[in-house]
Symmetry: C2
């Protein structure tokens, strides 16, 4: 098995994690969480989302979180941005980078953001154009890339088409995302290879959820074909394992335990991430989904 | 990535699973569980253990379970046997195969079975000799092969030595076991390669626990080097994910979801295993640890 020597992590806990928790976390606690994550060595942290506060109340304090964090040199603080209005707010908040999100499934796109894929790409073209003028890097998610809750299987070429469009309009990287945690390692090379027809391999990131326990195996399959950027959520925030419907972000700790074991450099300290997660655990009111965190509760090596 | 076309599963839920559950399950329910697992297509099921009832009360009904199950043609019903006394009981119960268990860690061996590794091998030599005379196949576990709760890291050569000794005395297969769920995919080729110095690859099975979420990634790394036999526990029985100290057997469903996705034949039906686990879930009084089972609770593809 062939793995890269170094892997880049994108920490999505403060956004993808906290947005999907039942409990609303106080702004000050979000700020402290982000600061603990940057202190752990994270170089990219998705801090919040500049979305409509009436639609996503958990992210309504995005500007305040950005105003409160201690900017660590070398760390990029990013935010999800759905449109030009969001971009304006993100710029005011001095984000280092924005993230846009399209779907590979037409039905999911309509249900999630009330736009067809083509309409969403048109919106993002405007956002990306404006971001480019300001020198702001743009990252793009492609959701439901491994399966859709409404359509089931998604053709890898459809994933490639949306990914290609996002890169062509100016995104520097596309995060091919398993929104419902249905991916298995047999699919990973198929989907990634399809996307490489439109996007160079070194601009492909993968975003797995551990809903069916396959996330680390998927990462391993992806490492084997040279993918070297992965998203993860501290503690596995965003999916409570005890609740039905938990979506289960891959926990940063679980990913780091495996990458450390493989001798892959990340620059991120596992124990420091766990400390950040433990802090947030007391705020969200349930045990962390991270298996590594659970194993650490008991004495042992 | 290179994977075998066909993989053999060893279902350990009724023994390794139920032995480590807090609740004592009624004999009739164990029998029904084993019958559901054989109906799912399992060809090897570890049914119980012929150990001292005062030491392991959960396995005290081993003979009754063997007397009650419907023997499905093509399925081997096996039992753990620690010594000649256990072997005598196992023979009376008409087991198809026995399993013996040594440790790779000296400290673990002393604490777990109150014998040094050498002493335990001496005991097993007698057991294996007698089994051979009766034409009874012997499978051997090597516990703590990837790490020990007392000694920490275990030298791969120590794992190879114990494995080699067990094969040389007559075991047909050695199940190299990650007793505390600490293995990561970086370790798997190292340990397996060491063991192949003493044991042919096709006589090596792997037994993972999912304590740190790495079990499926470990299986994938093992498939890549040609290992084609894996142990798993229906529903992940044997480790409640909500309890501190959960050891977390790899769930058969999670393993099957990945193997099915990789197009690997097992002969075992995922939905039928899940049905067996759901039956047992109502008896052990907590939700199954299997991630696949948890994902199936919610509507979706």
């Amino acid at each position: 098995m062939n793995v890269p020597r170094r892997v880049a992590l994108v920490e999505v806990g403060p956004r993808d994690g906290l947005q999907n928790e039942a409990v609303v976390v106080a702004t000050a606690d979000k700020i402290a969480f982000v600061d603990k994550l940057s202190a752990a060595g994270h170089r990219t942290i998705e801090v919040s989302a500049f979305v409509r506060p009436d639609r996503v109340p958990r992210m309504a304090d995005a500007a305040d979180v950005f105003a409160g964090i201690a900017r660590r040199p070398g760390t990029r603080y990013t935010a999800l941005v759905p449109n030009l209005a969001g971009l304006t707010r993100a710029i005011e908040a001095k984000v280092d980078e924005i993230a846009i999100f399209a779907a590979a499934s037409e039905t999911f796109s309509k249900r999630n953001i009330n736009q067809s894929i083509a309409e969403s790409l048109e919106t993002y073209r405007g956002v990306t154009q404006r971001a480019k003028e300001l020198g702001l890097p743009v990252r793009a998610y492609v959701s439901t890339a491994f399966g859709c809750p409404f359509e089931g299987r998604i053709a890898p070429d459809a994933v490639a088409d949306v990914s290609g469009a996002l890169i062509e309009m100016g995104a520097y990287q596309v995060a091919v995302s398993d929104t419902i945690g249905i991916a298995h390692p047999g699919q990973v090379p198929t989907v990634v290879t399809a996307v490489t027809k439109r996007v160079p391999l070194d601009r492909i990131a993968l975003h797995f959820h551990d809903t069916r326990g396959t996330a680390l195996a998927n990462v391993l399959a992806a490492l084997d074909i040279g993918v070297a950027t992965f998203d993860a959520s501290a503690g596995g925030l965003g999916g409570c394992p005890f609740a039905p419907g938990a979506t289960g972000n891959l926990a940063t700790e679980d990913l780091l335990y495996m990458l450390d074991g493989l001798g892959i450099e990340t620059g991120v300290d596992l124990d420091a991430v766990l400390a950040a997660s433990r802090f947030m655990e007391s705020k969200v009111g349930h045990r962390l989904a991270s298996r590594y965190a659970a194993a650490k509760r008991v004495p042992g090596p």
